[in-house]
Amino acid sequence: MRYYRAKEPYDEAAIAAANAAIAPETGGRALTMGPEDAELRTKWMQAYKDAGGKVVEVRPKRKKPKDPVNPCPCKPISSIRLVSLTFKSDHNLLKDYTTDWKDGGSRYPKPEWIAGGAQHPVSHTMGKPVSVDVEIEVAPADACVETGTLRGEGPDGMVFEKTGVTFKPGRFTVQLTSDKDLEKKVRAFDFQIEWSAKTDDTGFQMRSSRSSTTTNKMFVTYDTPYNDTPYDNGVTRKRMEWACTLCDGDTNGHASVKKIHDSTGSFDLSASTPSPHWKIAGGAHAQCMDLGKFYMLGAEMLGLRSGEVVYLYPKVGKTTKETTSGADNDRRSVAGSVPAHAPATTHNSSNPNEEILLVDQSGGWNNYEACYKFTHPDSTGTMKTRYYAGGANDYDTAQEVMKSVCKETHWTFEGSGGGWSICTTPGPSPVDVW
């Protein structure tokens, strides 16, 4: 279809004539380029041309028409299906190793729940909300887009809900956070969420059912597990499950440390060093310092970090020395001892110093008693320090530990074969009877 375009330079007189020709209809207003003024623009151009204005004829190029077939209208949503669930607020440290007490395996992959497939465990801090990504699939492929609500009902009245969700065909992910925090207690339980969805326009519903229920084993701890000591504390399922099952229901750190402490037997002075220390959870024997290290590792697995292993030594005069060194026995030089050794003595042939020995209530020979010293608010909120003695009981002070564990002390000297003997001459022997 052809039309005319004014050619420059424009003829002012012709413009005035054209404006006057359409003035009765426009009232003097300027013409727009909208479709409502198309007829007036044609009339103006004709008047411009008739008034002698120069014009150019424009013939538009031919174009083929577009596809004359229009798309069919969208179909109603026929299904909304749960595809997967990914935890976003978990510790993301848990490894799948369960063979023994060693560290090993790989981190559980995400997503932790897949329809018809894997259901992996997670560990999570107590007293925090749970955040998840839910992957949804809407069918058919040409379903109409609708808005609606996605809802999940979790344990202990916890709800995940999001309104205004765009349910579009195919797969997409929705991020949700629980309206409540996890209960403030250690737990090992099945974290189950029953999911449902409903669209606003057509009211289509995905009702909660077995196929729309996600279940994951969840281990709830006081805080993120720590692995920051010189001793292996990798977060394996076997270790985490042991700690959370043992301390299930605990709401206070001291209660949990006590359970870990009480789970082990008495110290074994003749034990080798368990490697790793987590073998103690499986019944391996250990000396008191290795028991103390195990208590620390168990506590850190639950996210409790306010403790350390300390070594308690009996001092001459029945007081107690507390250090972080495992080689801090009270010593005396054989050469200058009080009382004095005989001028010719073998007590210094291998080692110039004698050391104080602690004889325990079972008659065992000890260098010290090691404890896990843990400071944490108790159930009333008061900061409390407690000494969890390796293979003995738990106490409020170092002196209490020593009074309970120590029977008596002696000076000892080292022999040529590496063994130690009690110095009875000049002694004194015993040095102190506790």
Binding site: S270, T273, W365, N366, G418, G419
Partner: protein, 260 residues
């Protein structure tokens, strides 16, 4: 190598029997009967190829006792609480110091020695190991602070003849973990036995020593014995001793309740 000396007193009866047997033998046929030393404990004759009394003299009473005790093998289902505890402790040490190749394969019987009805004493495991040296009879005996490992090859390699240091070194490198640390030397030959020890790195402080630093060995040309103290290294809780007194009361320790 054998020795015809007897221990006075307890073994007197046994020595007389030997003399009578020899007398009969010489009357009939001129033969040389290999003389076997008898050591008697608990009035029971036992054969040893080595003189445990020499071992007691050289390495201490406890080491010798571990070799001469009569061990009573008790199935796990019949073990008393103290026996079970001692065997768990002993197994921990076998896992800690013995190489994978020389670890027991599967459950092996455990023998116990008790000096009295409630007192401790020792645990022993015995099992064969088959490897590039052929079959070796291994016996690992432990008391509270002392371990002995006896290794007797079925066939003594010919290149070990008159070279007990080589025998101890080749066996030691196979039996113990951390073979790269093992450096043995022969100290002396005395009373028909060769004696040696682990060479401790110079400058190593007494507090830093672990079990391998305390290793001593001996051999009679048919068997090699090793002994170590149960030292775990720096910062250990126990005051380890090779003396007699602290190496008793092992079972009883676990019969008592936790210290209060």
């Amino acid at each position: 190598m054998h020795d015809s000396r007897a221990v006075a007193g307890r073994c007197l009866v046994a020595m007389k029997r030997i003399s009578l047997a020899l007398g009969i033998a010489f009357a009939a046929v001129t033969v040389v009967i290999p003389f076997t030393l008898l050591n008697c404990v608990d009035r029971v004759e036992r054969q040893h190829t080595m003189d445990v009394n020499k071992i007691k003299t050289e390495l201490g009473t406890v080491v010798g006792q571990l070799l001469e005790y009569q061990y009573r093998f008790v199935p796990r289902s019949h073990q008393r609480k103290g026996e079970t505890s001692a065997s768990v402790s002993a197994r921990g040490w076998v896992e800690s110091i013995v190489s994978g190749e020389f670890q027991p394969k599967g459950d092996v019987g455990e023998g116990f020695h008790s000096g009295g009805p409630d007192s401790c004493d020792a645990v022993q495991v015995r099992y064969p190991v088959v490897g590039d040296l052929g079959e070796i009879d291994l016996r690992i005996s432990q008391t509270v602070f002392v371990i002995t490992v006896s290794a007797k090859p079925k066939v003594w390699p010919s290149n070990w003849k008159n070279d007990p240091e080589r025998a101890a070194s080749e066996l030691g490198h196979r039996i113990f973990i951390q073979p790269e640390r093992l450096r043995l030397r022969r100290v002396r030959d005395l009373s028909g036995l060769s004696w040696g020890e682990q060479i401790i790195p110079p400058g190593k402080l007494p507090d830093q020593k672990d079990w391998l630093d305390t290793l001593r060995w001996w051999s009679d040309g048919s068997e090699v014995g090793f002994t170590v103290l149960k030292r775990t290294g720096p910062g250990q809780a126990a005051k380890i001793s090779s003396d007699l007194q602290p190496n008793q009361v092992w079972f009883e320790m676990f019969e008592r309740p936790r210290a209060r």
